[in-house]
Amino acid sequence: MSAAPDHNPTFAEVTLMQRLDKALPVLLIPLLVVIGLLAIGNPSSWLTLTVSGLAMGMLIFAMASGFTLVFGLMDVINFGHGAFISVGAFVGVSVLAWLGTWTEAPSLMLNVLAVLFAGIAAMGISGLLGWGFERVIVQPVYGAHLKQILVTMGGLIVVEQMIHVIWGPNEIFINRPEMLKGAITFGAVAIEKFRLLAVAVGLILFVAMRLVLKRTKIGLIVRAGVQNGEMVQALGYRLRLVFIGTFIAGSALAGLGGVLWALYQEVVTAGMGEHMMVLVFIVVIIGGLGSVEGAFIGALLVGLLQNYVAFLEPKLALISNIGLMTAILLWRPQGMLPVVKAK
């Protein structure tokens, strides 16, 4: 019989860097904001840009959260996620047009109600579409990444073309509801009202999502499923149902993001989903595939950086995101907050 191996436990204090490890990505946001202030110089335009950057980030987060959760939970890469963004935007815009009397009325109450209804309709239709998409397109290709990418890309194109068939080939211009037009001014600072609304909606969404994920039983199952799906199934939970639910919720959120983005840009095109997916990919990769917090931080970084750079050097705006992604992947190749998978 051989002797037991030596066992020398060491007790080392956790270093400052190790403690900071989780918090570092969060600190990037204030860092970027401060750098932005230094680079821009003018505090009033800086504040305007920061608010619009935050608004953009929140909207991108709404679109990216579903994508990243679906990946984390079921290892499914859904390139068709952009379809839900477009469909949500078109449905929302149709609803807003239909509620024309409400959006034109100079009453904040009616205006917000109209946007609310548009958002609900968009979420409903996008969620429904997500359910169908999952059934028809994604389900037959579980576990095969290559096929998933190909098939969901095909699905994106089909949905995009169907939008052309239903809503016509041209882009649709929309007006924001009466009371959400224009800006609030404090002295020299002008902040568009709609951006404030977008930031508010995004914050509510993030807090609600965190509460659901951290405080409820379903959230517990989802988080456990991301870490170790097999074990969750072994404990008797039907992970497939949870997954479908997540997929539908994610699609619905993408639809909501689509409506708000349409109001933000004041125009909708069938290609907007595909366009936004580029940003979503960047956000999800720098955040760490599967991580909701990572996606949130990533979305804010992308939104802020894009607005700052667009102000300083307009032509570099798109490249700046690629640069950000490159820098973060050099720092943390798995993304900022990678999901730890149990093997």
Binding site: I137, G154, Q334
Partner: protein, 353 residues
């Protein structure tokens, strides 16, 4: 001799051999078999897309990596020739410099993207290439001073390759022997050579390692192959060949623009060519390219013709209009991935049960 030329990868099916020989003969004698400008344009496009699709197959079919930046590399080659021809003046030296510069740049860019994404996870590659490719497309249309923006660039190629250059005064089998004919044969022979080179690559020990990685990367790593290196080399090779195809396209068209080289639609076409033809068989890319280019050039007319026939019906005219071509491609794409994953070549090669 023949097996050596094909690098020992014979078609292994009578029908497939017949089809390939038919394609080869038709393309080799296209100017004489199918007179007319449009037919020649189609034949040259087929040659170039065969190379482009086959180089994509190197990546998708043999290495198992999905890239959405293949049109970007294609465009690099095309813009290389265009920019060199614009700035260096008319001449073969400009064509050569542009071609080489485009191919080298494409390989370097592919290596950089590969280092960033393939090092971590192969699936990152699909997302990062999509992001980079769309950024490049926007950049090209914005930097109109250099690239001509949305309008693209028109430039002159050496006179020997244009219709103005007469080689013989008489017609040969009723075809004018001019620079255009020379240009076509330049495209054809270069494409033919590139396809043979790719066959050589995929049937070399290197190609076998790529296939091993596609089947099981973990095991390939365990046997001792450095998976990331192999994947990156495959990416670079594929990008360089795509750039060469782009250069050929630029020489043939005497024009480059975002629509002809960088658009997402072309990316989709390439994907479809490879998937329908059969992934992981260079021959599949050949058949896929022929089918799709022919369909694109002639089937769209048919769709246009069908619109009046369904005039009164709801929705159908919308669905059949040539602008909805992509819709049908998308549906075809999904169906072929599900029900036809091995493509035409896979079906033809399958031994009868």
């Amino acid at each position: 001799m023949l097996t050596k030329l094909l690098s020992g990868d014979s078609p292994r099916s009578v029908i497939l051999s017949a089809l390939l020989i038919a394609v080869l003969v038709c393309l080799a004698f296209a100017p004489f078999l199918f007179p007319g400008v449009r037919a020649l344009e189609t034949a040259a496009t087929i040659c170039i897309f065969i190379v482009l699709a086959a180089s994509y197959d190197l990546l998708l079919g043999y290495t198992g990596i999905v890239s959405f930046a293949h049109t970007m590399f294609f465009g690099l080659g095309a813009y290389g020739v265009a920019l060199a021809s614009t700035h260096m003046g008319r001449g073969f030296d400009a064509l050569i410099v542009g071609t080489v510069a485009g191919a080298v740049l494409a390989a370097i860019l592919a290596a950089v993207i590969g280092l960033f994404s393939l090092r971590v996870r192969a699936i990152f590659f699909a997302m990062i290439t999509l992001a980079v490719a769309s950024a490049v497309a926007v950049l090209v249309s914005q930097m109109s001073g250099l690239t001509g923006g949305e309008d693209g660039l028109n430039y002159k190629i050496p006179r020997e390759l244009t219709p103005a250059f007469k080689l013989m005064d008489d017609k040969l089998f009723g075809v004018r022997v001019n620079g255009k004919l020379l240009n076509y044969y330049l495209v054809f022979l270069a494409s033919f050579a590139l396809v043979l080179v790719m066959l050589r690559v995929v049937n070399s020990p290197f190609g076998r390692v790529l296939q091993a990685i596609r089947e099981n990367d973990f095991r390939a790593e365990a046997i001792g192959y450095h998976v990331v290196t192999y994947r990156i080399i495959a990416t670079c090779l594929s990008a360089a060949i795509a750039a060469l195809a782009g250069s050929l396209y630029a020489i043939w068209l005497r024009y480059v623009g975002p629509d002809t080289t960088l658009s997402f639609e072309i990316m989709l076409d390439i994907l479809l060519m490879v998937v329908i033809g059969g992934m992981g068989t260079i021959y599949g890319a050949i058949l896929g390219a022929v089918l799709l280019v022919l369909a694109q050039n002639y089937l769209q007319d048919l769709m246009e013709g069908a619109v009046p026939a369904v005039e009164g019906l709801p929705l159908l005219p919308e669905l059949l209009s040539p602008e909805r071509w992509l819709l049908w491609l998308g549906i075809l794409f999904i169906l072929s991935v599900y029900f036809f994953p091995t493509g035409i070549v896979g079906r033809l090669r399958k031994p009868r049960a």
